[in-house]
Symmetry: C2
Subunit: 339 residues, 2 copies
């Protein structure tokens, strides 16, 4: 298996990306192909000792920056690490593409270069959402589709269930729809229609979930439009940060408190770990004809390593093929719904 | 001034409501009229010593329950504490109505009984959102209007600014629009149109805000549709709860940690206070022809007391009249926008 890694994407590229690749190569048997400006990648690689049979470099002269327009950049920068990497997956020479680069460009590039799975209207970005004290849940769409129709939310539920089952290993995952209340008749035109579709589908749909319950891990797969998904992800990050800042300030204020905080330091560290996205690997893009993973833009070597390791089952379990087959069931549901 | 208080609304009615009224009456000069089943209110009141010239009872035989259908209940339960209370404000015998009861019914009742301010399309529920280490911000709509048009978001910005200025005392409040990114061209059809309207308005509009920045208090008034507002409020509550639960569990696990936690106990309490909605008073309903405040359903006496005290400027500063005048400016903006 060949894992294609964007060596130039993200705030810490290429150094943290290359470091993460080297660390991952010690734990898996797959070949890791780092795509990017050869001299820069080589100069980073030369810092480490590694099994040279397991890491390759593929030259790509251009870089898609975070400020670049997504659609324009993937159209024009044909020799960028992102476009070259996606084409490796398209041609079958690569089994999965992983990037910490421009999210919009990765989404657009996946659509243009790999194409959407036939019958999928809107591919989605699925986020791994940490649940305190439990396994993380999968939330989609996390921001790729800010305006959705009910059939898109159905797609998200089905694709998310498949990923949760095959890659994260949770069988018969519970699917919940973000809504104003738990009652079936609550919500907007969109959520009411999506509720009906999800209820008729083969998903293990457990009904509406209120945003309050998401951090408790009330279900395994949380479905919502990309605007709401973006709000959930970003608000959680922001609130987590501001609470830990406050904790630190308050706990270190005053002598008695300082002693207390020192005694608690291990515990506080373990709480921080529960929030730590670097543990969980990247976010899959579901619905395109090839496995693609988006890493956090500020990924460090540890996040890169974990994303690479957790990418293996995504490619191996044939998630893309299983989604293609599930589309049939979905189409029947949508047609019968229109009759 | 006569403050009309729903004695029967909320999870802890009437005991915590009556207790809160008694406590508030010691701090303000206004008359508090408790509406509800006279025998029950009297029996609660008899537990306390208070200035009988400052607390009155108004009998209302029916109660709107949390499970009642909002529209049906305010139409049918004409002698409920909520409907009777709202009618006191309508007739001019009361200056403000405060309730911890069924939110939907309070919204519907405010619309039917008081009516919307001419020119306001969608009255909104504005939530007081606690900001760690700073003054709270105002977020609207908090869930009354799950589907909105751009002009509704403009209304929310204008009404929120007026409330923030006149009642919460922050002059020239900064208004932000919840969006996927800070750039003006980001977002959905709705947010792009709302951005244009807000930019042309007399609001101190500072542009888009990402959900990540809301807990930091990036602006004074946060504008969004009611679905997103509901997600922000409920997710913040849920995340706050699950973090404090985790903190408690982790901190009290192990002997060394336990000693640390005991030394920190005052600090932890002061953090909890920063999250404590009971400090801030209730959430105003803006856009109807009379001041109405919704308290949290589980309000205790302290929350009730603070809501009553903070209700005084809402009624005194003529917020409803100022909103009525601001509508003119808004209408000019909407008309010129259509030409």
């Amino acid at each position: 298996m060949r894992i294609i890694l964007d060596g130039m994407g993200g705030d810490n590229a290429p150094y943290e990306i290359v470091k993460g690749a080297v660390e991952a190569s010690k734990e898996i048997d797959e070949t890791i192909v780092i795509v990017g400006q050869e001299d820069k990648i080589l100069s980073e690689l030369s810092k480490y000792q590694y099994d040279t049979s397991k890491i390759e470099i593929m030259n790509a002269t251009e870089v898609i920056e975070n400020e670049d327009s997504p659609v324009r950049s993937v159209r024009r920068k044909k020799d960028s690490s992102m476009v070259v990497g996606l084409n490796e997956v398209k041609s079958g020479n690569g089994d999965i593409f992983i990037s910490a680069g421009n999210t919009g460009a990765l989404m657009a590039g996946s659509l243009f270069n790999l194409g959407r799975i036939q019958g999928i209207d809107r591919p989605a970005l699925a986020a791994i959402y940490p649940v305190l004290g439990k396994e993380p849940l999968l939330l989609l769409d996390a921001g790729a589709n800010s305006e959705c129709k009910a059939n898109n939310l159905l797609e998200f539920g089905i694709m998310g269930s498949i990923y949760m089952d095959k890659v994260l290993g949770r069988k018969n995952p519970k699917v919940g729809l973000v809504n104003l209340g738990v009652e079936a008749n609550k919500g907007t035109t969109l959520t009411k229609m999506a509720y009906e579709l999800l209820e008729k589908s083969t998903c293990n749909f457990t009904g509406n979930v209120e945003a309050r319950e998401v951090p408790n891990g009330i279900c395994d797969v949380v479905v919502c439009d990309g605007f709401v998904g973006n709000v959930i992800i970003k608000l959680s990050e922001g609130l987590g940060l501001s609470i830990s800042k406050l904790l630190k300030n308050k706990l270190l204020d005053g002598f008695k408190a300082k002693i207390g905080a020192i005694l608690l330091v291990d515990k506080l560290k373990s709480i921080k770990k529960d929030f730590d996205y670097t543990e969980y690997g990247g976010a899959p893009i579901l619905g395109v004809k090839g496995p693609v993973i988006k890493m956090h833009g500020s990924s460090n070597a540890k996040a890169v390593k974990n994303s690479i390791i957790k990418a293996v089952p995504f490619a191996k379990e044939g998630v893309v093929d299983i989604i293609s087959e599930a589309v049939l069931e979905m189409e029947e549901l949508l047609i019968s719904d229109e009759v």
